[in-house]
């Protein structure tokens, strides 16, 4: 069941106006169970994990590892395949630096889409510089969906070694048919990495159904704390991938002239982890499951249709990403008003939006606009909030006319 009252911050007022939080694609708000889980951990359970032979460390370790099991069940993986990271960005970088550097050679091709977040472009550009790999980008149709014909053509190129794409664009909100491409990639022996940062709060993820080799997401976009994320890797691939950072749990032994590497999943977890973050992530996953993806999907599809219907009446507004399979993420431009002015002025009315390129500059170059205004909604948003947003936007357009 969807209960808006579970999110304390949504009662906040900005300059006397109710907070209308339309920046969920940046970070989602936290439910009371998540806030309480983190607070409770620090008040009652705080200790380092996997280290002390004492009851407090035992309890902390138990809580920490129980979340690993929870995540594994949540996405249909084994617990050895779940690596705690600091977020989706860290996950992509880990794959690039460990798997990538060990497996990619000069001239090998990595296929991305032009709609990728910088976090799934720059690590590969770094390898382009370091190793001499090549990048190819899947182009888009006019409605923001992938040009599948072009994508398949790209995957047919001889030296493609990796397909790294997002399940949902953080700008366009279009749900990409990732399983179609991972299937083709598998036939050709191409390794696949799915960026689920934007999709995980909205869509039930099953790594078996997606049939990918790697998948990353961040905890904070699904209502957990910041600074915690997940890298899923297929066991076989993780076993064959060298460790990334050295220290802490990744070590099995150290001598003055050598060291041994721990088994999965600890092999990729160096240093004291974000333990409270993991506990908070666990609470966020449980909360999402208690609401249920079916309810979330139903509510969000209702909001998407309502938003598009209402905004259509404002002729000065152009929406980018109009394909039918769409989450309530709306990038738009307003004729005669710069997105930064709109975000600034609407912010004074309590409406929290993001303006800019949203860490997707290549996409904005492709769309031919320097910046967009983005409204990104979640299941706890309401039609009343959309009405308020549209009325304030109409006032703004009138003022600038």
């Amino acid at each position: 069941m969807i209960r808006r009252t579970d999110f304390p911050i949504l009662n906040k007022k900005i300059k006397g106006q109710p907070l209308v939080y339309f920046d969920n694609a940046s970070t989602a708000q936290k439910s009371r169970p998540v806030i309480e889980a983190v607070s409770n951990f620090y008040q009652n359970d705080n200790a380092n994990v996997h280290r002390g032979l004492n009851p407090l460390a035992d309890e902390a370790t138990k809580k920490y590892e129980s979340v690993r099991n929870l995540v594994a069940d949540f996405i249909g993986a084994k617990k050895e395949e779940i690596i705690f990271t600091s977020g989706a960005t860290a996950g992509v970088n880990l794959v690039a630096r460990s798997w990538g550097e060990a497996n990619l050679r000069a001239g090998d091709i990595v296929v991305l889409s032009i709609a990728e977040h910088h976090a799934n472009i720059v690590p590969w550009l770094q390898l382009q510089k370091k190793i001499g790999i090549k990048l190819e980008y899947i182009p888009l149709e006019a409605d923001g969906s992938w040009d599948l014909l072009a994508a398949k053509k790209l995957l047919n190129k001889r030296r493609v070694r990796l397909l790294a794409v997002s399940q949902v664009s953080n700008v366009l909100g279009i749900i990409n048919p990732v399983a179609q491409l991972t299937k083709l990639a598998k036939q050709k022996g191409i390794v696949t990495l799915i960026d689920a940062a934007q999709s995980v709060a909205h869509l039930k993820i099953d790594v078996k159904k997606i049939a990918c080799d790697f998948l990353v997401f961040s905890g904070h976009k699904l209502g957990g704390p910041t600074g915690i994320g997940i890298l899923y890797g297929r066991q076989e691939l993780l076993l064959a991938t060298p460790p990334f950072m050295g220290g802490g749990d990744m070590i099995s032994f150290v001598k003055s002239d050598s060291f041994g590497v721990s088994d999965l999943p600890y092999k990729f977890e160096a240093g004291t982890p974000n333990i409270a973050g993991v506990v908070g992530l666990g609470a966020a996953l449980k909360y999402l499951e208690s609401v249920g993806y079916n309810s979330i999907h139903k509510q969000e599809q209702g909001l998407t249709i309502y938003f598009l219907q209402k905004i259509k009446k404002l002729k000065a507004v152009k929406i980018f990403g109009t394909a039918k399979a769409k989450l309530p993420i709306f990038a738009l431009t307003i004729n005669g008003i710069h997105p930064h002015d709109a975000a600034d002025i609407l912010g004074q009315a309590g409406i929290i939006l993001r303006a800019g390129h949203h860490c997707a500059q290549p996409l904005h170059d492709y769309l031919g606009v320097p910046a967009t205004l983005r409204a990104s909604l979640s299941f706890y948003n309401t039609k009343k909030e959309i009405d308020y947003f549209v009325s304030k936007l109409a006032e703004l357009i009138k003022a600038f006319k």
Binding site: H338, D344, F400
Partner: protein, 124 residues
């Protein structure tokens, strides 16, 4: 900035001193790469005093209305006076609340003008 920032919106819709000045003593372009704000200023002096200031550009209201308002303020002033302007002055001249995140937008025009006269080598 809020929707009641009429002065800003007015200058944005009806910029003063807009256009290219072909006989300019100084010309300078400034960009905010992250948001696409773009201003080019043209300055002509009579002795030590700024006689004409025009600009071209595109971008947000704070940057574009800002240089329009500033152009009216700076004409008639000396180079030394112009170089002394800072963010506090800009906030007073604009007459609206400028949040920290709009600092670069608000300062773009002034930066172009000060760069134009501060570094006369190669900007002519």
């Amino acid at each position: 900035m809020d929707i009641y920032a009429q002065n800003i919106i007015d200058h944005y819709k009806h910029p003063r001193n807009f256009g290219v000045l072909s006989q300019a003593d100084f010309k300078q372009q400034e960009l905010n790469a992250s948001c696409g704000d773009d201003i080019t200023v043209f300055l002509k002096f009579a002795g030590n005093k700024l006689k004409t200031l025009s600009f071209t550009g595109q971008g947000c209201a704070i940057s574009q209305a800002g240089i329009s308002i500033l152009s009216e303020e700076l004409i008639g002033q000396t180079k030394k006076q112009i170089l002394a302007y800072n963010f506090e002055d800009i906030k007073n001249i604009f007459g609206v609340e400028i949040s920290a995140r709009r600092y670069n937008c608000a300062m773009l025009g002034l930066r172009a003008v000060q760069k134009a006269i501060g570094d006369s080598t190669g900007s002519k």
